[in-house]
């Protein structure tokens, strides 16, 4: 028989998780991060979750964000399905490797190593992002042979610029390498690897920022599914934490996906950098055991 009363403390815990997840989903969808980078440190710092449980929940955040925003981006033709599928051949094995490494590190009581490594990974992308923050659309680059063979080209109508934009994939080999690394990062830390995916899509494949963000959101679900399978099977996804986070994140991501098509790329990028910097500092401090 179902009881008539609930634990007020636990109910408040669930409501707070939903509110935090709404914010994470909004930020995640606007930046292409997937929301995990916001949820994971907050779970550890303010909700008292262990590192592997926070990482397991991070995967849920990614899956909800990717599905919510991916649907809107695919419908609006902002996500490039062809390029996303092509690059997933690198991110998925990376995620399997990364998630397996996290399980072994957790079993070896090396959770602080995970936190410091996450901080270092986030710091690594900040300089490059600053250097390109004024670029609205990339200069055209030649396709390589693989890109031509696979037809890695596309186009969309940019509402903010008021014109049709076409693009073509450029340097696929380094893009695949970065995507493999992004897969490892995603699998290890539950953050989606969107940080690296967006950069690889912009810098190597030379895609416009909006297409990069939307395609990254489209891809991270598959990458996360690979990592989530490992973490779920290992018992590091707690549904009492994950369910409210999934609900809140999906709502926040949906809101974000409605905002993105009307935003200029510069605005998206300015939202992107402070989030990365703050979370990088927080992760390193936590990993070192500093307040």
């Amino acid at each position: 028989m179902v009881a008539l009363w609930v634990s007020v403390e636990l109910a408040l815990f669930v409501v707070l998780l939903i509110l935090v997840a709404v914010a994470a989903g909004l930020v995640g969808s606007l930046t292409g991060l997937g929301g995990g980078v916001v949820v994971i440190p907050l779970l550890i710092i303010f909700f008292g979750a262990s590192v592997p449980i926070a990482i397991g929940t991070g995967f849920v955040t990614i899956l909800a964000t990717s599905s919510a925003t991916g649907a809107a981006y695919v419908r609006d033709r902002l996500s490039d399905i062809r390029i996303g599928m092509f690059l997933e051949i690198a991110t998925v094995p990376g995620a399997l490797l990364g998630a397996t490494a996290t399980v072994f590190l957790t079993h070896a009581n090396l959770e602080s190593v995970l936190l410091i490594a996450l901080g270092a990974v986030l710091f690594a992308i900040i300089p490059g992002s600053l250097a390109r923050r004024h670029i609205e659309l990339p200069e055209p680059q030649p396709q390589d042979a693989r890109s031509r063979y696979l037809g890695l080209t596309g186009g969309y109508h940019d509402e903010a610029l008021g014109k049709d934009v076409t693009y073509q994939g450029a340097r696929t080999s380094p893009a695949l390498g970065v995507m493999f690394g992004a897969g490892i990062v995603s699998g290890m830390f539950g953050i989606g690897g969107g940080v690296f995916k967006v950069l690889a899509l912009e810098r190597f494949l030379n895609l416009p920022m909006k297409v990069s963000t939307a395609t990254s959101n489209f891809m991270i679900g598959v990458t996360a599914a690979a990592g989530a399978g490992v973490m779920l099977a290992a018992g590091y996804v707690n549904p009492i934490v994950a369910a409210p986070v999934a609900i809140g994140t999906a709502f926040g991501a949906f809101l974000g996906s409605r905002v993105l098509p009307g935003l200029r790329n510069r605005t998206v990028r300015l939202l992107f950098l402070p989030v990365i910097a703050a979370l990088a500092i927080e992760m390193v401090l936590r990993g070192l055991g500093l307040p």
């Binding site: 609930v6 649907a71 809107a72 599928m85 997933e88 080209t153 679900g221 599914a225 018992g235 549904p239």
Partner: protein
């Protein structure tokens, strides 16, 4: 013939799957996410109602789905109306949603006769299943 090192000056030809592929993938993502959220939302409400003595700390120090991570365990749990099994099902649906999207992509790349993209998408699917069915259970 254009040299590999010469930047293309003309706008590139846009390669795109049929509109039906975009419609189907949008539908798959929305249906999967919606189904997962309904199951998880119902599960969390039921859990709160059925566990009035629980606290956030007790929740964080335990995991109610550990007994339902195998197919027999999940099946018997669902048959018995276990809330933990329902929550596990919601998580599985959430994880499976992008995988179904890959299957959808495989269908459309094959339908339009793109062998290279079909092979790539099929490889992604095999890797995902390998992770879920072999690597995940093994590391536990």
């Amino acid at each position: 013939m254009t040299s590999n090192s010469t930047p293309a000056l003309d706008p590139p030809a846009v390669h795109r799957l049929p509109d039906a592929a975009y419609v189907r993938m949008t539908f798959v993502l929305r249906l999967g996410l919606g189904l997962a959220l309904v199951i998880l939302g119902g599960g969390i409400v039921a859990y709160l109602l059925a566990n009035p003595g629980e606290t956030s700390q007790s929740v964080l120090s335990s995991n109610p789905i550990l007994g339902y991570l195998s197919v027999p365990g999940l099946g018997s749990g669902l048959a018995g109306g276990s809330i933990g099994a329902v929550l596990t099902l919601g998580l599985i649906v959430l994880v499976a949603t992008p995988i179904v999207r890959v299957v959808s992509g495989l269908y459309y790349f094959r339908k339009v006769g793109e062998r290279a993209m079909t092979a790539i998408t099929f490889s992604v699917l095999v890797l995902l299943l390998l992770g879920l069915l072999v690597i995940g259970p093994h590391v536990r």
